[in-house]
């Protein structure tokens, strides 16, 4: 249960990596560190990486996590990759809206819509 490797579950659909947070509370510093290490290893080769991060299980999220997500966004987009988020619960979505990160980051209601957005872009 406390296995740090179990905090992010990843599956690959075509050329898109879907990373789902398994932790409901991403507040304490150790959890944040583990999660970001796991995401960091996915984005170790960010060139044209297509990464979708699913927040459906997340109940709490601190501003420290927002900073890490921004860093990830910068790294992936700088390497011509695509970075999208989905499944963010209303109270947490408000945090993204307050900080205007909803304007910077591409946020979709669920995995299906986010995956569709990757596909739409692909065939443009």
């Amino acid at each position: 249960m406390t296995d740090p490797k179990g905090k992010v579950n990843t599956v690959t659909v075509g050329d898109i990596v879907i990373a789902t947070f398994m932790e409901s509370r991403i507040l304490d510093e150790t959890t944040i560190l583990h999660i970001m290490n796991e995401l960091g290893s996915i984005a170790a080769e960010p060139y044209k990486l297509k990464l979708l991060v699913d927040f459906a299980n997340v109940e709490y999220l601190s501003s420290a996590v927002l900073g890490k997500i921004v860093a990830l966004h910068k790294k992936i987009t700088a390497e011509k990759g695509q970075f999208k988020l989905c499944g963010i619960k209303p109270a947490i979505l408000q945090v993204f809206q307050i900080t205007k990160l909803d304007k910077l980051l591409e946020i979709h209601p669920d995995q299906a819509k986010a995956l569709n957005a990757f596909k739409t872009k692909k065939f443009f």
Binding site: T30, Y60, S62, G67, A71, P90, A91, T99, K100, L104
Partner: protein, 163 residues
């Protein structure tokens, strides 16, 4: 000096109110901070001040941000430095005073979310979150002391939107 999001340090110490239900100091470490948050959530929950999940989520986030600021940015995780926490309750209105021994902060260094360049910064959002979810936020001294106040309400900010 005011920040892009309108933070001004007050020169007078804002008064407490109602009944003081907690007044404690804890050491500047993450485990001590985590324990204090659980204690505060228990305390507020027992008084009916976290009426639903949304309100609890928002208040937990604000408590975490304010205590991280004190422990990490204020006292630089120096365990010899203490954080003082006091909680006031008057009916559904409650407040938390947090004081650290750090150097304070520069309000003009807090990113303004209206500024597109600030969007890419990796820090500085905690203060904005607190300001948005609490009803009143008072910074005083050199910014190392804060009193934030909330009137508990189901549905988070529903009351604000209808006023």
């Amino acid at each position: 000096m005011a920040s892009g999001i309108g933070i001004v340090f007050e020169t007078q110490v804002p008064a407490g109110f109602g009944k003081t239900v907690l007044d404690e100091v804890f050491e500047s470490s993450y485990p001590a901070k985590a324990q204090m948050i659980l204690k505060l959530l228990d305390l507020l929950g027992a008084q009916g001040l976290l009426p639903d999940q949304e309100e609890e989520t928002k208040m937990r986030l604000c408590l975490d941000e304010v205590l991280v600021n004190a422990v990490k940015h204020g006292n630089k995780l120096d365990p010899t430095k203490k954080v003082r926490v006091a909680v006031y309750v008057d009916g559904l209105r409650w407040g938390i005073r947090v004081e650290d021994e750090g150097p304070g902060f520069d309000p003009s260094a807090i990113p303004n979310p209206e500024d597109p360049e600030s969007l890419l910064l990796e820090r500085g959002r905690g203060v904005l979150i607190i300001k948005s979810f609490m009803d009143e936020v008072h910074y005083y001294d050199r910014g190392n002391r804060i009193l934030m106040i909330r009137t508990a309400q189901p549905g988070g900010d529903a009351k604000k939107e209808t006023q």
